[in-house]
Homo-oligomer: 425 residues x 2
């Protein structure tokens, strides 16, 4: 099995290191020696985390995808401009593709998979979601007897690190973000991670496997964590919840919900205990019930673990595109965000005038929404009171109207914070 | 794909129900319709949980394994007398085998797999460990790039239900066992579950996949939970631990450790939060690091989920015997229990005489063992004191000598309780 690699950064370097280190045990499981033939890199003189003495390095990536000896191309350069061009060329040359590139799949997965099916090559991407956790294989094979009802995951380690640290140390978002950047967990421009775009890419992939829908990245309702405050976390904790940035895909009557947003999760749920940069995906399915898959969502060797697992599957003739559900995909309707029904957490800052609680609860009553729990916290130096409210199940449209009505009231002192609650059981 | 079933009890009935209910989504993933041709049952007139109107029922199980149209036999009758005979006959007839029978594999897995390899049929058993959790596929495929360092699992739901209930409600073992029996979670004769034999079967299977060793069920050190008391649980809780009945397989310098025993797990570990009848398997591996797989370990449809996943893998030509590591198995040395090094929890009942603490700690000192934590609890009506101690890492042999030395002392009032602590990180 002869392999070409595009990109020898963190993931590519990890792949080489793991293949070298574990060649004996990998051969035990495959009966085949994996030969790394050629790698396309930006600068052949750069110092690397891996030993490349037996691999030809080239600065022309097309030399890799056009190499006549190569059976499989590992696309590990990221982005979706050049990466797409290279992957298309490789497929057209009859090479199998393994990629860790969620942005590429999120944006061009449908057409690339169509091309791969046409050219009868494998297009595998275990590493694109939740790093080394074999969640794509679990959904495609392990749970293949099930109708999947929902998938809810902590699928961005950066965001989870920030929320965990904010909770554990009572620190501000900006403060923790800076630390995450210093530690290398967050990029200099952290938008993709903290605003949920990365998670939305991954969610669109999970939904495709779980429900047999096309990739519908552009339809994912996406809300980041940058507006989560220590106040939110304190109130959530008091009510028995932890705030997690979840990607949620759910089958409902009118199609599927696809959403990435901060979410209050009950502390009694296992996923509420998933801390730091770790990832976890909770799956609800009709035969198995609830199952959860937990592990490292990033890192050189963790991601390499998933890339090489795909490689081993190709060697063993496993994980066809078919079982990924990608030979019979339909475009399942994505439910509009306004129509999504959920429980919600609202946090208000109101002037501590007489009867304010009754006015607030009156607004919920006017919209026919039941309040599940209410905490009125300390009055601050400005004579303002903090109120946290959790609701019964209500449509997003209605709860947005409640938010607007509160914000239009004379007692209101700040933008109302509105966060989904997800029961997950 | 034509299928014959041996046994239409809970699991067999679940398989039929799930195949009928989810035929559309299964066909989407396989492109094939699965046809249940014939089922061997003890009594064809018995009322069942599933619709058998399109399946031929027979009371002669050999009619199933000899049926000329059948491609795959699902062995779901359990036990390892008749089951073995039937599976051998089916393999010799060129049928693929899917089984949920951990006792069969624990006792005869090596020879059956050899026969299956010789006859070039698939021998799959995802349902034999941790019910519907796709842990065999995760170890064999998802983690195939990794050297596995250890596997530690809650792999018996009955035991976990009992320990959870004892902790949550402060109830006695016998009391909870009776409830588990009434609820159908425990058998009338609960020995297999509570004494760890069932878990040892499963552990021997996990170890075979993880390390490429032969099945070595008879070498598993097995200790049950029937001697765990509410006192143990209270002291463990106070020290920040939960007691779980774990199956642990670990690579060490001299080979592998294979052991099933009650274990103190830190409450900060996810696996400590796995409650009730749920199962979970924690895997440590060199590339991915720590990963965890959680879900239902039993139940008709949960187990059926795993059986049908194996069936779909056969249809899609996936999960060869090879990737299970069973084509290159060696007999890896199982380390003797005496030589296993671990931290331990000891619980003592001693007479509250002057200097007793110094005498107890002196015994540890004499054996060169450090005490990590010590709690002396209330003196009871008999003027006896309860002492709980956790040790630093020490060999089982040494800690057994400490236990003996304490029990031989004049201040000792009861058998010393000795439980493993497992750090798992």
């Amino acid at each position: 099995m002869k392999v070409g690699i595009l990109g020898l950064g963190t993931v590519g370097g990890g792949v080489i290191n793991v293949l070298q280190k574990n060649s004996a045990s990998i051969e035990r499981r495959t009966g085949v020696q994996i030969e790394l033939v050629i790698a396309g890199v930006r600068d052949v003189t750069k110092k690397r985390i891996c030993d490349t003495s037996n691999i030809k390095l080239t600065e022309d990536p097309f030399e890799v995808v056009n190499h006549p000896d190569i059976d499989v191309v590992l696309e590990l350069i990221g982005g979706f401009g050049l990466a797409k061009e290279l992957v298309e060329a490789a497929i057209n040359n009859g090479k199998h593709i393994i990629t860790a590139n969620k942005a590429l799949i999120g944006n061009h997965g449908n057409e690339l998979m169509k091309l791969a099916n046409k050219k009868q090559v494998r297009f595998l991407f275990e590493a694109s979601v939740a790093g080394g956790i074999p969640i794509i294989k679990a959904l495609g094979q392990g749970l293949s007897a099930n109708n999947i009802e929902s998938v809810a995951g902590i699928i961005n380690g950066t965001g989870n690190f920030i929320l965990t640290d904010m909770k554990e140390k009572g620190r501000d978002f900006d403060d923790v973000l800076k630390e995450a950047q210093a530690l290398g967990y967050a990029e200099e421009d952290p938008t993709f991670d903290i605003e949920g775009i990365d998670a939305a890419h991954k969610l669109s992939i999970l939904a495709a496997i779980a429900f047999g829908t096309e990739i519908q990245f552009s339809k994912v309702y996406t809300q980041g964590i940058s507006k989560i405050t220590t106040e939110d976390i304190l109130h959530a904790t008091e009510l028995g919840y932890t705030i997690k940035h979840l990607g949620i895909a759910k089958r409902v009557e009118d199609g599927i919900e696809l959403r990435v947003h901060p979410t209050l999760v009950s502390n009694s749920q296992l996923i509420a205990q998933v801390d730091g940069v770790m990832n976890a995906v909770l799956v609800k399915s009709d035969a198995l019930g609830t199952s959860l898959y937990y592990g490292a969502g990033a890192g050189d060797e963790a991601t390499a673990s998933a890339v090489i697992a795909d490689l081993n599957d190709i060697i063993n003739n496993q994980t066809s595109n078919h079982i990924l559900g990608w030979k019979s995909q339909e475009k399942i309707n994505v439910v509009d965000n306004d129509a999504i029904v959920s429980e919600f957490f609202l946090r208000l800052l109101v002037s501590d005038i007489k009867g304010v609680l009754s006015k607030v609860t009156g607004i919920f009553n006017d919209h026919n929404v039941s309040i599940e729990a209410l905490i009125q916290k300390q009055v601050d130096e400005n004579k303002n009171a903090h109120i946290a409210i959790t609701t019964d199940r209500v449509s997003t449209k209605t709860v947005m109207n409640i938010k607007k009505a509160i914000e239009a009231s004379d007692f209101n002192q700040a933008e109302v914070q509105l966060i989904h609650i997800e029961l997950l059981d």
